[in-house]
């Protein structure tokens, strides 16, 4: 008996292993390990990334420099989006933690953090674009430089969105209390 296209698509989904993982998560239900705060790593990353953006925005010639040291710095800079995304795995908004494991408190924490992050990124976008245009006019940037700078700016906003959300969730999160000693029920 030949399978329909939909059945074949189901087979492909099953082949990925995700349905089994979701079933296991649903069986396990709540009782997931406590969320971890990540207060300092995103802050350090934010400072470094912001510094790099300012460095390239004030001196676009660095993009085309053939100096070996500059090439190394550019390579490291290119790795930062990956590092920032990886850092979210160590924070309270860990993407590996499925929504099946999240309870109402975790959902509220995530919503607040993402809302905060959206405001920060939106505000910076509103303020940053006119500044970028002004700098481009003052320094008479070529269209290629403008494109590179806009790309860098978008990449920065992408990283900022993740970092701001993790920072907000981590700093607004009270210390974990997973012990019962207080009432003698350990």
């Amino acid at each position: 008996m030949t399978k329909t296209i939909l059945q074949r698509m189901d087979d492909v989904i099953r082949w990925t292993g995700f349905p089994k993982r979701v079933e296991a998560d649903l069986r396990r239900g709540k009782g997931a390990p406590p969320l971890r705060r990540s207060r300092w790593l995103p802050l350090v990353l934010l400072v470094i990334v912001s510094g790099l953006v300012v460095r390239y925005a004030t001196n676009p010639a660095l993009f085309a420099a053939f100096d070996p040291a500059e090439i190394v710095i550019r390579t490291i800079t290119a790795l930062f989006p990956c590092l920032v995304t990886a850092s979210t795995f160590f924070g309270p908004l860990n993407p590996r933690r499925g929504s099946e494991q999240a309870d109402e408190w975790e959902e509220a924490l995530g919503h607040r953090a993402l809302f905060f992050s959206a405001i920060v990124v939106g505000g910076l976008e509103l303020a940053g674009v006119p500044v970028l245009i002004a700098i481009a006019f003052i320094h008479n940037w070529s269209s290629q430089t403008i494109l590179v700078e806009i790309g860098l700016w978008l990449l920065y906003l992408f990283m900022l969105f993740q970092l701001a959300a993790t920072l907000h969730a981590s700093w607004s999160m009270p210390a974990a209390t997973n012990r019962d000693e207080e009432v003698g029920l350990g």
């Binding site: 239900g29 009782g31 406590p34 109402e104 974990a176 009432v183 029920l185």
Partner: protein, 76 residues
């Protein structure tokens, strides 16, 4: 919002993990509730009250609960 979850939990001799499992949240959330770091949804408050078999007003209050000793003395 004030609550007496810790007292009721101690009286029933159940851990945070067991209460969390019974009402469908993570144990960490019960900890935050007990410390007053989090105000629960109406649904969660009702589930916790139902688990202990009491009215929600006995567990949660907008005003600070009076000490149990005072309540007992008044009832004597």
């Amino acid at each position: 919002m004030h609550n007496r979850i810790a007292i009721f939990r101690a009286e029933h001799g159940i851990s945070r993990a067991k209460l969390a499992d019974a009402v469908g949240v993570n144990p960490q959330t019960i900890g935050y509730l007990e410390r007053g770091d989090y105000t629960p949804s109406l649904e969660l408050a009702l589930k916790i009250a139902r688990h202990f078999g009491v009215n929600v007003e006995l567990l949660f209050s907008l005003e600070r609960f009076e000490p149990i000793a005072v309540t007992l003395r008044r009832n004597d």
